[in-house]
């Protein structure tokens, strides 16, 4: 049985009509001890049928050491969104519910080069000289979460210094515990800093400044 129904497939086709350049979805998965690996794989198989510019590459987390290391994958299921290069855009856990919109937004951004960072935001990102790792914790039923995920992914797209992950809390309880996340969205910045809620760009930038 398909995971995406006909109505959603039609909507996705329409949304992805604006794609310009090819996008590769790299899925990291394994056949055992992985909550939603199977479902995430099926989702991506169905998603790539909606547009010829989409390509899926499946990597085995336990055996494909080279790709795991090169893309810095540390948990599964993981999706890396690549275009001309790897921008550091990751989804950890199934991008279901409202996060499906975040996935489509990332694909469109990588394919078209269009993002919504302000001039001040770009200027700040240009000035970065240290790596920034953003982890946005989400639940699929949280309507405010895609805003935080999309912003983090835009920063990763724009700056080589920024990596940005969506992290679905129910699949990675150890991280939820480690960062004591009890509300979403929550954007952690490197290890010790975080921003609560779907904060606007300038607030995230202020937090990143504090964290560096």
């Amino acid at each position: 049985m398909p995971i995406l129904d006909e109505k959603v497939i039609a909507e996705v086709k329409k949304a992805l009509e604006h794609m310009k350049n090819p996008v590769t979805l790299k899925l990291f998965t394994q056949s055992f001890e992985c909550g939603y690996c199977k479902e995430t794989h099926q989702l991506l198989e169905e998603l790539i049928t909606t547009n010829d510019l989409l390509k899926l590459e499946v990597h085995q987390f336990e055996s494909d050491k080279e790709a795991v290391e090169r893309l810095g994958i540390d948990k599964i299921p993981a999706i890396a969104i690549l275009g001309e290069k790897d921008y550091g855009i990751r989804f950890y856990g199934i991008p279901a519910g409202y996060e499906f919109s975040s996935l489509l937004s990332a694909i469109l951004m990588v394919s078209t080069g269009l993002h919504k960072l302000s001039d001040e935001g770009k200027k700040f990102l240009d000035s970065l000289n240290k790596p920034v790792h953003l982890q946005v914790f989400v639940t699929p039923t949280c309507p405010y979460c895609p805003q935080a995920v999309i912003l983090a992914h835009q920063m990763a797209y724009y700056s080589d210094k920024v990596k940005a992950d969506m992290v679905e809390v129910s699949e990675f309880p150890h991280l939820t515990q480690k960062y004591s996340v009890q509300g979403v969205p929550r954007t952690t910045i490197n290890e010790d800093w975080y921003q609560e809620g779907a904060a606007p760009e300038h607030m995230i930038i202020e937090k990143i400044k504090e964290a560096l």
Partner: protein, 318 residues
């Protein structure tokens, strides 16, 4: 078991002058957008969130919107409203409005990326949850203090939580949280609830829920090891403490009107309009929760939006 939401920002053109710009994409804005698009007005909706639908998107079930004898999911109703308006040509972009200039023939709506221009503006920015303003609340917001049950309910499997409030939101969200938590205390400052009687009956029938009335929260006393609320009973004038794993606050809402201060007549922070939703400034309308009104519901918001769009259409015609 999974659902998949598709909601994406359009690529609108900021060099043109729109007939109308709708700020805010909740039920009022979406119904105005539907009507305006069908009147063939060049219409742009600016919504700051990535997901359109406003507070509907964080509401689990809607039971009192006519036409749905079976309860409808808030997110489904929001998505259907959005799809319907888009079908007739409404453009929706996701940008955060930072400033508005409402005087003059051409109104300007300024975001971090663009200056949008229109002959008329409809404000449908809705409202945001009120905070308790007690010690501990701000520090633990997102770390045990929450304002969104659909977002954060999943953090409390088999846990004990408190819900503060006595209206429909507090009681309905408690029923949602009961899907996860094993025990829920609803703390309400009065002895009776202003929620709809049918909702109160359902809460009373849920064995996981215990009602604590005539009581206010004085402090959210959370730290790394202990989590408790300090409560104050208004009748007995006694303080007590209640151990919980988290607390949800649903004590009403504040209008999102900071952008318009000094430009429009307001009352207690809400925008004053006439019966046809015209504000104190020519060419500017307001609809939904953001305006002065007595009942803030999806059903009333869509009526507001439709009427405002009709009046905008008439105004542009004349």
């Amino acid at each position: 078991m999974f659902d998949f939401n598709v909601s994406l920002s359009a690529n609108a053109d900021s060099s043109q002058i729109y007939d109308t710009i709708i700020i805010g994409g909740g039920p009022a804005g979406l119904s105005a957008g539907l009507y305006a698009a069908r009147y063939k007005l060049k219409t742009l909706m600016i919504e700051k969130a990535a997901i359109t639908g406003g507070q509907l998107t964080s509401t689990e079930w809607v039971e009192n919107y006519p036409g749905f004898p079976e309860p409808v999911l808030g997110k489904k109703l929001a998505k259907d409203m959005e799809d319907q308006a888009r079908f007739f040509g409404l453009e929706i972009i996701n940008e955060d409005v930072s400033k508005v200039n409402l005087d003059g023939e051409i109104k300007e709506i300024i975001t971090s990326l663009n200056t949008w221009k229109a002959r008329t503006v409809l404000i449908a920015t809705g409202s945001s949850p009120k905070t308790l303003d007690v010690p501990g609340e701000k520090e633990f917001s997102g770390r045990g203090v929450s304002y969104c049950a659909t977002c954060d309910g999943p953090f409390y499997p088999d846990k004990t939580v408190a819900v503060v409030g006595g209206g429909n939101s507090a009681l309905e969200e408690s029923l949602f949280i009961a899907k996860y938590a094993s025990k829920i205390y609803i703390i309400h400052r009065r002895d009776s609830f202003r929620a709809d009687p049918i909702v109160i009956d359902r809460v009373k029938a849920e064995s996981k829920i215990e009602l604590i009335t005539d009581t206010i929260v004085k402090e959210i006393a959370f730290d790394a090891s202990i989590r408790k609320l300090i409560l104050h009973n208004k009748k007995s004038a006694q303080d007590s403490s209640l151990d919980v794993d988290g607390v949800f606050v649903f004590i009403g809402a504040n209008p999102n009107t900071a952008l318009f201060k000094g430009q429009l007549d307001m009352q207690d922070g809400y925008i004053v309009t006439d019966r046809e939703h015209q504000t104190s400034v020519k060419g500017v309308w307001a609809a939904g929760d953001v305006q002065v009104k007595s009942l803030r519901q999806v059903a009333t918001a869509v009526g507001d939006g439709a009427l405002a769009a009709y009046k905008i259409h008439k105004y542009l015609d004349s």
